[in-house]
Amino acid sequence: MSTMSLALRDSTTMVRRRIKHMRRYPSLTLQLVGLPVVFLLLFVYVFGGTLGNGLGSGPGGRSEYVAYVTPGIILMAMATVAMGTAVSVSMDMMEGIVARFKTMAIARVSVLTGHVVAAMLQTFFAVVVVVAVAFAIGFRSDANVVEWFAAAGVLAMFAFALTWLTVAMGLAAKTIDSASNMPQPLVFLPLLGSGFVPTDSMPAGLRWFADYQPFTPVIETLRGLLLGTGIGANGIGAVAWSAGIALIGYLWARKLYNRQA
């Protein structure tokens, strides 16, 4: 068997292992998906009426706010799942089984690819749930099939980047607690970007941060594809941030996994 097909086979085995974990202990997944759904309902039904009026375009009110906030909540869901990934990786590394894997003649990267692919599936599940709830409470999109696929592609890219980054965080963490604390800021980034309100309503310093942080171009690209707003340079920004974060996350994770005590 060639090195490549060996890596693929071992990685598939590791993905199956992670999926078994998730299916046997679904509470973590449900918790990770539940949080963004609660935020969606909270923002639409509690703050939505007022916030929608402040958007300053269209009819205003709750119905307009559902459309505005859904891309932000989707990104929040991705960040929440990524946080769970860091915790799962860190828990796994504390088990003796990973030391066993390292003494076996298997593709070394497969333990990590198992985590990455399983986390991507978990993200996909979370995003589908969030979008379904959003549709149920009045979200409508005028996107065609190509635009939906493009949106899925942008999300997959960014999820891939966040996953590698949080896999690395999980490896870097010395305790489970620090593994859950390290990626916490990611969950707040949609709030400190264009996820919940337009950035031009923010004070100067915060606005500068909100405009230049990675979540904003991804959210704006998503809005453009699903709601038909202008995308501009955000598309390039989303791709560049995804590629950059994925590369850094991957290299960091690989270095940590191969480190020798």
Binding site: K20, H21, G96, F101, K102
Partner: protein
């Protein structure tokens, strides 16, 4: 790919490892013949686990020429990994999976055909008395069951060389006997075992050869018999009814130590019947009444204490 039968299963020359300023392994040389049990004996912190971690490719040595199953550890780590199995002192099972799933995971990672993998897993569950528990998550297993599953997982790949790092630490006496029995069966099947332990009786029971590790150096190596012969640990303990008798005996015999509280005198002795008769004759001649006599033949404890104490004195 099977290694030449005359070639050692494990050959180590000049192994060194240090963490920062602390030298953990200071020039280890050892050789383990195929199909034998080699036991590395030493107190906690002697460096036993570090050696196992190096030989099983988990960490790198700072220096040394090391071959395992005929393969160079640095140049062909994957060939070494394909030939070995490791069961450490902390259980290397996936606690979220069931016992059977753990074994099937190993079968997949050894790239066994699905049907062959299922058969091997079923055989091992049977052999390790885990058939009933096979469908339950490993997190619900007792310590002894987890260790058995751990060993079963190690065996699934049919390794030529097995590293067992303190395999019976924390087990109850019965599980301990089970593990011993299993180790003997494995060696009968031609496997080489590298066993670390801090229990002298375990090494004495199982090992063909023993090396004593103390503070990163091998202080002695040989068969259990050779090691016991190295030190004159045999003696006779004589207990008396009162201090006067003890005094008298101490003057009559060449005692190595006396305990005035317990009224016990320790006299060196080679374990032979002839010299024992001579000793008793001398006590009779002096009309010394002995309350109790116990014979102590040297065991590995004596060897171990003698060798490590010698070193402590040299340091002082």
């Amino acid at each position: 790919m099977t290694a030449n039968i005359n070639q050692p299963a494990i050959a180590v020359r000049g192994l060194r490892k240090q963490y920062g300023d602390k030298v953990v392994l200071d020039g280890i040389d050892l050789s383990v013949a195929q199909g034998k049990i080699f036991s590395l004996l030493g107190p906690n912190g002697a460096g036993k686990t570090t050696i196992v971690r190096i030989l099983s490719t988990l960490i790198r040595a700072d220096a040394g020429d090391i071959r395992v199953a005929g393969h160079d550890l640095v140049r062909e780590p994957d060939a070494v990994r394909a030939a070995i199995g490791v069961t450490g002192q902390f259980s290397a099972v996936d606690k979220l999976l069931t016992g059977e799933e753990n074994l099937l995971l190993m079968a997949d990672l050894h790239h066994l055909d699905r049907r062959v993998g299922r058969r091997r897993a079923a055989e091992l569950l049977e052999r390790f008395d885990l058939v009933e528990a096979g469908g339950k998550p490993a997190s619900t297993y007792s310590g002894g069951m987890q260790r058995r599953l751990d060993l079963a997982m190690t065996l699934l790949g049919s390794p030529q060389v097995i590293f067992l790092d303190e395999p019976t630490t924390g087990l109850d006496p019965r599980s301990r006997r089970d593990v011993w029995q299993l180790i003997r069966e494995l060696v009968a099947g031609g496997v080489t075992i590298f066993l670390t332990t801090q229990y002298l009786d375990e090494a004495d029971h199982l090992a063909d050869r023993i090396a004593l590790l103390d503070q990163g150096r091998l202080v002695a190596e040989g068969t259990p018999e050779e090691l016991k012969r190295q030190i004159p640990g045999g003696h006779v303990n004589l207990r008396f009814t009162d201090a006067a008798e003890l005094d008298l005996a101490a003057r009559t015999l060449a005692a190595t130590s006396r305990d005035d509280e317990a009224l016990v005198l320790q006299v060196p002795h080679d374990g032979g019947v002839h010299s024992l008769r001579a000793l008793l004759a001398r006590l009779d001649d002096a009309s010394i009444e002995v309350e109790e006599l116990t014979l102590h033949t040297p065991d590995l404890d004596d060897v171990f204490l003698a060798l490590t104490e010698k070193k402590m004195e040299a340091v002082r």
